[in-house]
Symmetry: C2
């Protein structure tokens, strides 16, 4: 990776970009994943590159859902594997959720490489290699593990494509999406949408899970009941509109 | 390149993405260029993926400036070379502007490849290979041709980085930028900012140049005099704010 001085004003953003370029180099991220990364960067910039209050609230609800779930699964693609491997492994450990590799541009080689990558970051058991079940979408993301996403009750889908999100919801699953675009089909379809950068969101969720009392299920359930995903999306959009005014220095 | 059916609702956007991925494959576009492409995609989506009235006006003024210039130059990087090689060659021909390769991640190999790529699309003379002069920025984009960008009075810089744009303006040049982010330093520094997708902008400019009467310099000058770049940026920002309301279906 290129050397970036830690005091660079855009250190976090540049390091993130380097990680994803490195992901392509080692064969776990697809070139198209770089384009997706860029799309996210724009929305993050418009959102102020920090976790908003409403995103933080969605993260808390998401963690409660994972902790209460019977069979929670964290879906991992080439971008998340490159960006936050340690965070994914930690979140899996603290919530008890399984990790499952699921790719839009699927190849057995790439699935294997991502599994190895997660293992080298401490994961013990990673699903996705079997691909013995299908969900109802017409591309490679249809291929899932029967004991994983197919049977899950709660699925965390960071950096998702819209039709898979929709298919999972139609199967009756609770879907938690992490998506910087509050207008995307994924954002509007998911049960809980975390409008935040995946690099911040996963770290936040690990901390929240460590802080929560997993034994008091009633308290966890209570935090979910009052949640309204429409409110989260509205807040994010309002934030972007405000930021446009702010960044432009009032030239609008 | 992957096969994409022409009736696909997102055909233009997908073809553009394929072209840029292909650019990386053949070594004319940098992987970081893919991230930049993604950033542009988000803003294009927010702008409605069409040329706005104010962008069209900026394109007209830009063409008039190129036609009136003594030494106009079109700066070409790895993304524009991959996306619009035919358009760049045509624009160079109809306006009399030179093409010059100028790269952020510069290597002699890549400069050579881009020159060959433009030649294979009909360009006869492409500058940028000499690199015998410097402008005041602290990265590779400092390296320019003495007979090209260094001596130019008007420079068209599609997909630019902010500090080079600023340096060129400080040298007293008129700079025309094509940038989908109306808030970027480039957009706010350039003499004329075309807030439009480079794939549409270059084609529009070729048509405008063919329609304009190059012999009547007074008419060309007149079209420039009344132009206000702040108005163009304000219009683009207002458009994004309106689009956010529209796409969200009023959930803001």
């Amino acid at each position: 990776m290129s050397e970036i001085p830690e005091d660079h004003p855009r250190y976090d953003s540049l390091i993130t970009r380097e990680r994803i370029v490195e992901g392509v180099r080692i064969g776990i991220t697809s070139p198209q994943g770089l384009v997706a990364q860029g799309r996210g960067e724009s929305f993050d910039y418009l959102l102020g590159e920090c976790t908003s209050e409403s995103a933080s609230c969605a993260e808390k609800v998401a963690v409660a859902m994972l902790l209460l779930a019977r069979r929670p699964v964290i879906s991992v693609n080439g971008n998340t594997a490159a960006l936050v491997p340690d965070g994914l492994v930690a979140l899996s450990e603290v919530t008890g959720a399984s990790l499952e590799v699921n790719l839009f541009h699927r190849s057995e080689t790439r699935v294997g490489k991502i599994i190895d990558h997660l293992r080298s970051h401490g994961a013990t058991d990673v699903l996705g290699g079997k691909g013995d079940a299908r969900i109802d979408v017409n591309h490679d993301r249809a291929v899932v593990d029967g004991a994983g996403i197919y049977a899950a009750d709660v699925v965390l889908v960071p950096l998702e494509d819209g039709d898979r999100c929709q298919a999972l919801v139609h199967m009756g699953k609770s879907v938690i999406a992490i998506d910087l675009n509050p207008l995307s089909r994924t954002s509007r379809t998911a049960s809980v949408t975390i409008v935040d950068n995946v690099t911040r969101a996963i770290d936040n969720m690990v901390e929240l899970a460590l802080d929560m009392d997993c034994t008091d299920k009633d308290v966890l359930r209570e935090s979910i009941v009052s949640f309204d995903n429409e409110d989260v999306l509205s807040s994010a959009l309002e934030l972007i509109r405000e930021r446009l005014l702010y960044i432009s220095g009032g030239i609008v």
